[in-house]
Protein backbone atom coordinates (compact mmCIF):
# COMPACT_ATOMS: atom_id res chain seq x y z
CA UNK A 1 0.00 0.00 0.00
CA UNK A 2 2.79 2.42 0.93
CA UNK A 3 4.50 3.33 -2.31
CA UNK A 4 8.26 3.66 -2.47
CA UNK A 5 7.92 7.29 -3.60
CA UNK A 6 6.58 8.08 -0.11
CA UNK A 7 9.99 7.19 1.34
CA UNK A 8 11.50 9.74 -1.02
CA UNK A 9 9.22 12.49 0.28
CA UNK A 10 11.02 13.61 3.44
CA UNK A 11 14.61 13.89 2.12
CA UNK A 12 13.28 15.53 -1.04
CA UNK A 13 11.24 18.04 0.93
CA UNK A 14 14.16 18.89 3.23
CA UNK A 15 16.24 19.51 0.12
CA UNK A 16 13.50 21.71 -1.35
CA UNK A 17 13.23 23.59 1.97
CA UNK A 18 16.97 24.32 1.81
CA UNK A 19 16.51 25.54 -1.78
CA UNK A 20 13.60 27.70 -0.61
CA UNK A 21 15.73 29.24 2.14
CA UNK A 22 18.80 29.90 0.04
CA UNK A 23 17.97 30.10 -3.67
CA UNK A 24 14.24 30.80 -4.10
CA UNK A 25 14.52 33.97 -2.00
CA UNK A 26 16.14 35.58 -5.04
CA UNK A 27 12.76 35.18 -6.79
CA UNK A 28 11.19 37.63 -4.36
CA UNK A 29 8.54 39.63 -6.21
CA UNK A 30 7.40 42.73 -4.38
CA UNK A 31 7.21 41.67 -0.77
CA UNK A 32 6.49 37.95 -1.20
CA UNK A 33 8.47 34.91 -2.27
CA UNK A 34 6.82 31.95 -4.04
CA UNK A 35 6.63 28.91 -1.75
CA UNK A 36 8.34 26.06 -3.57
CA UNK A 37 7.17 23.40 -1.12
CA UNK A 38 3.56 24.52 -1.43
CA UNK A 39 3.71 24.37 -5.23
CA UNK A 40 5.22 20.87 -5.18
CA UNK A 41 2.47 19.70 -2.80
CA UNK A 42 -0.28 21.11 -5.04
CA UNK A 43 1.28 19.56 -8.15
CA UNK A 44 1.74 16.17 -6.47
CA UNK A 45 -1.79 16.32 -5.03
CA UNK A 46 -3.11 16.76 -8.56
CA UNK A 47 -0.94 14.07 -10.10
CA UNK A 48 -1.18 11.30 -7.50
CA UNK A 49 -3.84 9.73 -5.35
CA UNK A 50 -4.92 11.48 -2.17
CA UNK A 51 -3.05 9.25 0.31
CA UNK A 52 0.31 9.82 -1.34
CA UNK A 53 -0.48 13.52 -1.75
CA UNK A 54 -1.09 13.75 2.00
CA UNK A 55 2.19 11.99 2.85
CA UNK A 56 4.08 14.47 0.66
CA UNK A 57 2.08 17.36 2.17
CA UNK A 58 2.98 16.18 5.68
CA UNK A 59 6.69 15.90 4.85
CA UNK A 60 6.68 19.28 3.05
CA UNK A 61 4.94 20.98 5.97
CA UNK A 62 7.29 19.52 8.56
CA UNK A 63 10.33 20.52 6.45
CA UNK A 64 8.97 24.05 6.13
CA UNK A 65 8.22 24.34 9.86
CA UNK A 66 11.73 23.18 10.77
CA UNK A 67 13.10 26.51 9.52
CA UNK A 68 10.22 28.80 10.38
CA UNK A 69 9.04 30.42 13.61
CA UNK A 70 5.70 28.62 13.20
CA UNK A 71 4.88 25.68 15.52
CA UNK A 72 6.06 22.37 14.08
CA UNK A 73 3.15 20.67 12.32
CA UNK A 74 1.10 23.78 11.55
CA UNK A 75 2.15 23.98 7.91
CA UNK A 76 1.87 20.18 7.60
CA UNK A 77 -1.72 20.42 8.85
CA UNK A 78 -2.54 23.20 6.33
CA UNK A 79 -0.89 21.34 3.44
CA UNK A 80 -2.80 18.11 4.18
CA UNK A 81 -6.09 20.01 4.21
CA UNK A 82 -5.16 21.59 0.87
CA UNK A 83 -4.52 18.14 -0.66
CA UNK A 84 -7.91 17.00 0.67
CA UNK A 85 -9.47 20.14 -0.81
CA UNK A 86 -7.89 19.28 -4.16
CA UNK A 87 -9.18 15.71 -3.90
CA UNK A 88 -12.78 16.72 -3.24
CA UNK A 89 -13.06 19.84 -5.44
CA UNK A 90 -11.36 18.38 -8.51
CA UNK A 91 -14.24 15.92 -8.87
CA UNK A 92 -16.36 18.90 -9.91
CA UNK A 93 -14.20 19.44 -13.00
CA UNK A 94 -13.47 17.32 -16.05
CA UNK A 95 -10.38 15.13 -15.48
CA UNK A 96 -8.44 16.74 -18.34
CA UNK A 97 -9.38 20.33 -17.52
CA UNK A 98 -6.23 22.21 -18.51
CA UNK A 99 -6.50 25.01 -15.97
CA UNK A 100 -6.70 22.73 -12.90
CA UNK A 101 -3.12 23.45 -11.70
CA UNK A 102 -3.64 27.21 -11.95
CA UNK A 103 -7.04 27.02 -10.29
CA UNK A 104 -5.83 24.88 -7.40
CA UNK A 105 -2.61 26.86 -6.93
CA UNK A 106 -4.67 30.04 -6.54
CA UNK A 107 -7.45 28.50 -4.45
CA UNK A 108 -4.97 26.50 -2.36
CA UNK A 109 -2.88 29.60 -1.64
CA UNK A 110 -5.93 31.48 -0.42
CA UNK A 111 -6.94 28.59 1.82
CA UNK A 112 -3.35 28.15 3.03
CA UNK A 113 -3.00 31.83 3.98
CA UNK A 114 -6.27 31.82 5.91
CA UNK A 115 -5.59 28.45 7.59
CA UNK A 116 -2.06 29.44 8.56
CA UNK A 117 -3.37 32.71 10.00
CA UNK A 118 -6.06 30.94 12.03
CA UNK A 119 -3.64 28.32 13.37
CA UNK A 120 -1.08 30.93 14.37
CA UNK A 121 -3.76 33.02 16.08
CA UNK A 122 -4.92 29.89 17.88
CA UNK A 123 -1.38 29.44 19.21
CA UNK A 124 -1.35 33.06 20.43
CA UNK A 125 0.97 34.40 17.73
CA UNK A 126 0.76 38.16 17.40
CA UNK A 127 -0.32 38.42 13.77
CA UNK A 128 -2.59 41.08 12.31
CA UNK A 129 -5.03 40.55 9.44
CA UNK A 130 -3.22 43.28 7.46
CA UNK A 131 -0.22 40.93 7.17
CA UNK A 132 -2.49 38.33 5.55
CA UNK A 133 -3.85 40.94 3.14
CA UNK A 134 -0.34 42.03 2.18
CA UNK A 135 0.56 38.44 1.26
CA UNK A 136 -2.35 38.04 -1.19
CA UNK A 137 -0.12 38.75 -4.26
CA UNK A 138 1.19 35.26 -3.47
CA UNK A 139 -2.05 33.90 -5.01
CA UNK A 140 -1.11 35.39 -8.37
CA UNK A 141 2.56 34.34 -8.18
CA UNK A 142 1.61 30.78 -7.27
CA UNK A 143 -0.90 30.65 -10.14
CA UNK A 144 1.99 31.53 -12.47
CA UNK A 145 4.78 29.49 -10.88
CA UNK A 146 2.66 26.34 -10.66
CA UNK A 147 3.03 25.85 -14.43
CA UNK A 148 6.77 25.04 -14.53
CA UNK A 149 6.56 23.16 -11.21
CA UNK A 150 3.60 21.11 -12.44
CA UNK A 151 5.44 20.30 -15.67
CA UNK A 152 8.52 19.14 -13.73
CA UNK A 153 6.46 17.08 -11.29
CA UNK A 154 4.50 15.47 -14.13
CA UNK A 155 7.81 14.50 -15.74
CA UNK A 156 8.93 13.01 -12.39
CA UNK A 157 5.59 11.25 -11.95
CA UNK A 158 5.86 9.61 -15.36
CA UNK A 159 9.33 8.35 -14.52
CA UNK A 160 8.07 6.90 -11.23
CA UNK A 161 4.87 5.49 -12.65
CA UNK A 162 5.21 4.84 -16.40
CA UNK A 163 1.95 4.45 -18.31
CA UNK A 164 1.12 0.92 -19.43
CA UNK A 165 1.30 0.56 -23.20
CA UNK A 166 -0.53 -2.17 -25.07
CA UNK A 167 1.38 -3.53 -28.08
Amino acid sequence: MIRWSNYLAFPLMVLLAVLQLTLVRYLKIGEVTPQLLFLVVVAWGLLREVGEGCVWAFCAGISSDLFSPTPLGSTAFSFILIVLLIFFVRQLFPAKFFALPILFAALGTLVYLVLDYLILRLFQYDLSWSVVVSTTPLILWHAIFILPIYAIMRWVERRINPRAVQI
Binding site: G51, F58, P71, S74, T75, F123, L127
Partner: protein, 285 residues
Amino acid sequence: MNPNDTPQRIRWGLIVTLIIVAVLFMIADSTGNLSGLLSLVRDPVAVLMQWSADRTNSFANLFAGPRDLQEARQYIQELESQVATLQRQNEELRAIQGEYQTLQEMFEHANETPELNRILTQVIGYNTNSYFQSIIIDKGAADGVVVGMPVESARGLVGQVFRTSEHAAQVLLVTDNSSSIPARLGESRATGLLRGGGLGGSMTLNWVELEVVINIGDVVVSSGLAGRFPADLVIGRVIDVQRSQANLYQQALVQPVVDFDSLEEVFVITGVRPIDTGVFDTPDS
Protein backbone atom coordinates in the same frame (compact mmCIF):
# COMPACT_ATOMS: atom_id res chain seq x y z
CA MET B 1 -16.05 5.13 -1.60
CA ASN B 2 -16.95 1.66 -0.35
CA PRO B 3 -16.30 1.51 3.42
CA ASN B 4 -15.55 -2.19 3.19
CA ASP B 5 -12.75 -1.60 0.73
CA THR B 6 -9.57 -2.37 2.74
CA PRO B 7 -7.10 -0.26 0.68
CA GLN B 8 -9.47 2.69 0.96
CA ARG B 9 -9.73 2.24 4.72
CA ILE B 10 -5.95 2.05 5.06
CA ARG B 11 -5.57 5.19 2.94
CA TRP B 12 -8.03 7.26 4.98
CA GLY B 13 -6.61 5.83 8.19
CA LEU B 14 -3.17 7.07 7.09
CA ILE B 15 -4.53 10.54 6.32
CA VAL B 16 -6.30 10.81 9.68
CA THR B 17 -3.09 9.61 11.40
CA LEU B 18 -1.02 12.27 9.62
CA ILE B 19 -3.47 14.98 10.68
CA ILE B 20 -3.40 13.79 14.30
CA VAL B 21 0.42 13.64 14.28
CA ALA B 22 0.57 17.19 12.87
CA VAL B 23 -1.75 18.44 15.62
CA LEU B 24 0.27 16.62 18.31
CA PHE B 25 3.47 18.14 16.93
CA MET B 26 1.90 21.61 17.12
CA ILE B 27 0.90 21.12 20.74
CA ALA B 28 4.24 19.57 21.74
CA ASP B 29 6.25 22.29 19.98
CA SER B 30 4.23 25.16 21.41
CA THR B 31 4.84 23.77 24.92
CA GLY B 32 8.58 23.46 24.22
CA ASN B 33 8.74 19.67 24.40
CA LEU B 34 10.31 19.15 20.98
CA SER B 35 13.37 21.40 21.13
CA GLY B 36 15.85 18.56 21.81
CA LEU B 37 14.47 16.41 19.03
CA LEU B 38 14.34 19.31 16.57
CA SER B 39 17.98 20.17 17.21
CA LEU B 40 18.94 16.69 16.03
CA VAL B 41 17.23 17.35 12.70
CA ARG B 42 18.08 21.03 12.24
CA ASP B 43 21.83 20.76 12.78
CA PRO B 44 22.67 18.40 9.90
CA VAL B 45 20.42 20.44 7.62
CA ALA B 46 22.13 23.66 8.74
CA VAL B 47 25.40 22.26 7.34
CA LEU B 48 23.62 21.63 4.04
CA MET B 49 22.19 25.15 4.12
CA GLN B 50 25.64 26.61 4.76
CA TRP B 51 26.95 24.82 1.68
CA SER B 52 23.94 25.85 -0.40
CA ALA B 53 24.09 29.48 0.77
CA ASP B 54 27.74 29.74 -0.29
CA ARG B 55 26.90 28.38 -3.75
CA THR B 56 23.76 30.44 -4.29
CA ASN B 57 25.46 33.70 -3.25
CA SER B 58 28.13 33.11 -5.92
CA PHE B 59 25.43 32.14 -8.41
CA ALA B 60 23.41 35.29 -7.70
CA ASN B 61 26.51 37.50 -8.00
CA LEU B 62 27.30 35.94 -11.39
CA PHE B 63 23.93 36.93 -12.77
CA ALA B 64 23.91 40.30 -11.02
CA GLY B 65 27.12 41.44 -12.83
CA PRO B 66 25.80 42.68 -16.23
CA ARG B 67 22.66 44.06 -14.65
CA ASP B 68 24.79 45.94 -12.12
CA LEU B 69 26.73 47.65 -14.93
CA GLN B 70 23.58 49.15 -16.44
CA GLU B 71 22.27 50.07 -13.04
CA ALA B 72 25.61 51.63 -12.13
CA ARG B 73 25.44 54.08 -15.08
CA GLN B 74 21.95 55.11 -14.12
CA TYR B 75 23.03 55.30 -10.53
CA ILE B 76 25.90 57.69 -11.35
CA GLN B 77 23.45 60.12 -12.95
CA GLU B 78 21.22 59.93 -9.93
CA LEU B 79 24.18 60.44 -7.63
CA GLU B 80 25.28 63.58 -9.49
CA SER B 81 21.91 65.18 -8.94
CA GLN B 82 21.97 64.03 -5.37
CA VAL B 83 25.36 65.65 -4.74
CA ALA B 84 23.84 69.11 -5.18
CA THR B 85 21.00 68.25 -2.83
CA LEU B 86 23.38 66.76 -0.32
CA GLN B 87 25.55 69.88 -0.31
CA ARG B 88 22.54 71.88 0.76
CA GLN B 89 21.56 69.28 3.28
CA ASN B 90 25.09 69.26 4.58
CA GLU B 91 24.67 72.88 5.62
CA GLU B 92 21.45 71.99 7.37
CA LEU B 93 23.16 69.12 9.12
CA ARG B 94 25.67 71.49 10.63
CA ALA B 95 22.77 73.24 12.31
CA ILE B 96 21.57 70.13 14.10
CA GLN B 97 24.60 69.80 16.25
CA GLY B 98 22.57 68.24 19.01
CA GLU B 99 21.74 65.18 16.98
CA TYR B 100 25.32 64.84 15.89
CA GLN B 101 26.47 64.86 19.47
CA THR B 102 23.95 62.18 20.33
CA LEU B 103 25.18 59.98 17.50
CA GLN B 104 28.77 60.57 18.51
CA GLU B 105 27.98 59.56 22.06
CA MET B 106 26.26 56.47 20.69
CA PHE B 107 29.33 55.34 18.78
CA GLU B 108 31.57 56.08 21.72
CA HIS B 109 29.21 54.09 23.90
CA ALA B 110 29.53 51.13 21.54
CA ASN B 111 33.30 51.28 21.88
CA GLU B 112 33.08 51.67 25.61
CA THR B 113 30.91 48.62 26.24
CA PRO B 114 33.34 45.72 26.42
CA GLU B 115 30.77 43.76 28.44
CA LEU B 116 28.77 43.40 25.23
CA ASN B 117 30.51 40.42 23.71
CA ARG B 118 29.67 39.85 20.09
CA ILE B 119 29.73 36.64 18.07
CA LEU B 120 30.17 37.03 14.33
CA THR B 121 27.72 34.78 12.44
CA GLN B 122 26.81 34.18 8.84
CA VAL B 123 23.26 34.39 7.53
CA ILE B 124 22.52 31.02 5.94
CA GLY B 125 18.79 31.23 5.26
CA TYR B 126 15.66 33.32 5.17
CA ASN B 127 12.13 32.56 6.33
CA THR B 128 10.01 29.83 4.75
CA ASN B 129 6.74 31.33 5.95
CA SER B 130 5.29 34.44 4.31
CA TYR B 131 3.90 35.81 7.55
CA PHE B 132 7.21 36.05 9.37
CA GLN B 133 10.33 38.14 8.88
CA SER B 134 13.15 35.94 10.06
CA ILE B 135 16.63 34.75 9.18
CA ILE B 136 18.71 31.71 10.08
CA ILE B 137 22.30 32.09 11.29
CA ASP B 138 25.10 29.56 11.45
CA LYS B 139 25.79 29.72 15.20
CA GLY B 140 23.69 28.01 17.85
CA ALA B 141 23.59 26.86 21.44
CA ALA B 142 27.01 25.19 21.16
CA ASP B 143 28.51 28.61 20.35
CA GLY B 144 26.82 30.31 23.29
CA VAL B 145 23.79 31.64 21.45
CA VAL B 146 20.61 31.50 23.54
CA VAL B 147 17.03 32.52 22.92
CA GLY B 148 16.41 36.22 23.46
CA MET B 149 19.89 37.48 22.55
CA PRO B 150 19.88 40.65 20.41
CA VAL B 151 21.33 40.49 16.92
CA GLU B 152 22.85 43.47 15.13
CA SER B 153 24.67 44.22 11.92
CA ALA B 154 27.31 46.87 11.32
CA ARG B 155 24.46 49.28 10.52
CA GLY B 156 22.13 48.62 13.41
CA LEU B 157 19.78 46.31 15.26
CA VAL B 158 18.59 43.30 13.25
CA GLY B 159 16.39 41.39 15.69
CA GLN B 160 16.34 38.84 18.45
CA VAL B 161 17.16 35.13 18.63
CA PHE B 162 13.87 33.24 18.60
CA ARG B 163 14.95 29.61 18.50
CA THR B 164 18.25 27.78 18.72
CA SER B 165 19.64 24.40 17.84
CA GLU B 166 23.19 23.22 18.49
CA HIS B 167 24.76 24.90 15.48
CA ALA B 168 22.09 27.26 14.09
CA ALA B 169 19.55 29.79 15.31
CA GLN B 170 16.47 31.56 14.02
CA VAL B 171 16.34 35.34 14.40
CA LEU B 172 13.06 37.23 14.35
CA LEU B 173 13.68 40.56 12.61
CA VAL B 174 12.74 43.91 14.15
CA THR B 175 10.36 44.43 11.21
CA ASP B 176 8.32 41.34 12.07
CA ASN B 177 4.73 42.00 13.03
CA SER B 178 5.22 40.47 16.49
CA SER B 179 8.37 42.44 17.30
CA SER B 180 8.15 45.16 19.96
CA ILE B 181 11.21 46.96 21.29
CA PRO B 182 11.43 49.70 23.92
CA ALA B 183 13.02 52.54 21.97
CA ARG B 184 13.88 56.20 22.25
CA LEU B 185 14.50 59.09 19.92
CA GLY B 186 18.19 59.89 19.62
CA GLU B 187 17.81 63.66 19.87
CA SER B 188 14.97 64.32 22.29
CA ARG B 189 15.57 61.08 24.25
CA ALA B 190 11.78 60.59 24.44
CA THR B 191 10.82 56.94 24.85
CA GLY B 192 8.22 54.81 23.09
CA LEU B 193 7.51 51.28 21.95
CA LEU B 194 8.70 50.33 18.46
CA ARG B 195 6.43 47.81 16.73
CA GLY B 196 7.35 45.89 13.60
CA GLY B 197 5.00 46.45 10.69
CA GLY B 198 5.28 42.97 9.20
CA LEU B 199 5.11 42.31 5.50
CA GLY B 200 4.61 45.54 3.55
CA GLY B 201 4.13 47.61 6.69
CA SER B 202 6.33 50.22 8.35
CA MET B 203 7.73 50.06 11.84
CA THR B 204 5.93 52.45 14.18
CA LEU B 205 7.18 54.15 17.32
CA ASN B 206 4.12 54.33 19.56
CA TRP B 207 3.31 55.91 22.91
CA VAL B 208 5.42 59.03 22.43
CA GLU B 209 4.01 61.92 24.45
CA LEU B 210 2.40 64.75 22.47
CA GLU B 211 4.66 67.50 23.80
CA VAL B 212 7.74 65.80 22.35
CA VAL B 213 8.83 67.30 19.04
CA ILE B 214 9.67 64.52 16.54
CA ASN B 215 11.54 65.56 13.42
CA ILE B 216 11.72 63.66 10.16
CA GLY B 217 15.13 61.99 10.09
CA ASP B 218 15.44 61.62 13.87
CA VAL B 219 17.41 58.55 14.82
CA VAL B 220 15.57 55.84 16.75
CA VAL B 221 17.63 53.73 19.13
CA SER B 222 16.90 50.99 21.64
CA SER B 223 16.19 52.43 25.08
CA GLY B 224 17.48 49.50 27.10
CA LEU B 225 14.29 49.49 29.19
CA ALA B 226 13.14 46.00 30.22
CA GLY B 227 16.68 44.75 29.68
CA ARG B 228 16.06 42.69 26.55
CA PHE B 229 18.25 44.90 24.37
CA PRO B 230 21.27 47.01 25.27
CA ALA B 231 20.64 50.75 25.18
CA ASP B 232 21.51 52.94 22.19
CA LEU B 233 21.59 50.38 19.40
CA VAL B 234 20.57 52.20 16.22
CA ILE B 235 17.32 50.83 14.76
CA GLY B 236 16.10 53.33 12.17
CA ARG B 237 15.10 56.84 11.26
CA VAL B 238 11.79 58.65 11.48
CA ILE B 239 10.16 59.06 8.06
CA ASP B 240 6.74 60.37 9.11
CA VAL B 241 5.00 61.64 12.21
CA GLN B 242 1.32 61.08 12.96
CA ARG B 243 -0.08 63.30 15.68
CA SER B 244 -3.51 64.48 16.58
CA GLN B 245 -4.61 66.70 19.45
CA ALA B 246 -7.47 64.25 19.97
CA ASN B 247 -4.98 61.60 21.08
CA LEU B 248 -2.85 61.51 24.19
CA TYR B 249 0.14 60.15 22.32
CA GLN B 250 1.69 60.49 18.90
CA GLN B 251 3.35 57.90 16.72
CA ALA B 252 6.18 57.98 14.20
CA LEU B 253 6.80 55.76 11.19
CA VAL B 254 10.34 54.44 11.26
CA GLN B 255 12.47 53.15 8.39
CA PRO B 256 15.05 50.57 9.50
CA VAL B 257 18.69 51.40 8.84
CA VAL B 258 19.43 47.77 8.02
CA ASP B 259 18.80 46.40 4.54
CA PHE B 260 17.47 42.99 5.54
CA ASP B 261 17.50 41.61 1.99
CA SER B 262 21.27 41.86 1.72
CA LEU B 263 22.33 40.65 5.15
CA GLU B 264 25.28 38.29 5.00
CA GLU B 265 26.96 38.63 8.37
CA VAL B 266 25.51 39.70 11.69
CA PHE B 267 26.63 39.92 15.31
CA VAL B 268 24.90 38.16 18.17
CA ILE B 269 25.33 40.20 21.35
CA THR B 270 26.01 37.72 24.10
CA GLY B 271 26.84 39.93 27.06
CA VAL B 272 23.38 41.35 27.76
CA ARG B 273 22.42 41.01 31.38
CA PRO B 274 18.62 41.00 31.82
CA ILE B 275 17.52 43.50 34.45
CA ASP B 276 16.72 41.83 37.75
CA THR B 277 13.23 42.95 38.74
CA GLY B 278 13.19 40.66 41.75
CA VAL B 279 13.60 43.61 44.11
CA PHE B 280 10.10 44.73 43.14
CA ASP B 281 8.47 41.47 44.15
CA THR B 282 6.01 41.65 47.00
CA PRO B 283 6.83 39.60 50.11
CA ASP B 284 3.85 37.34 49.37
CA SER B 285 5.13 36.47 45.91
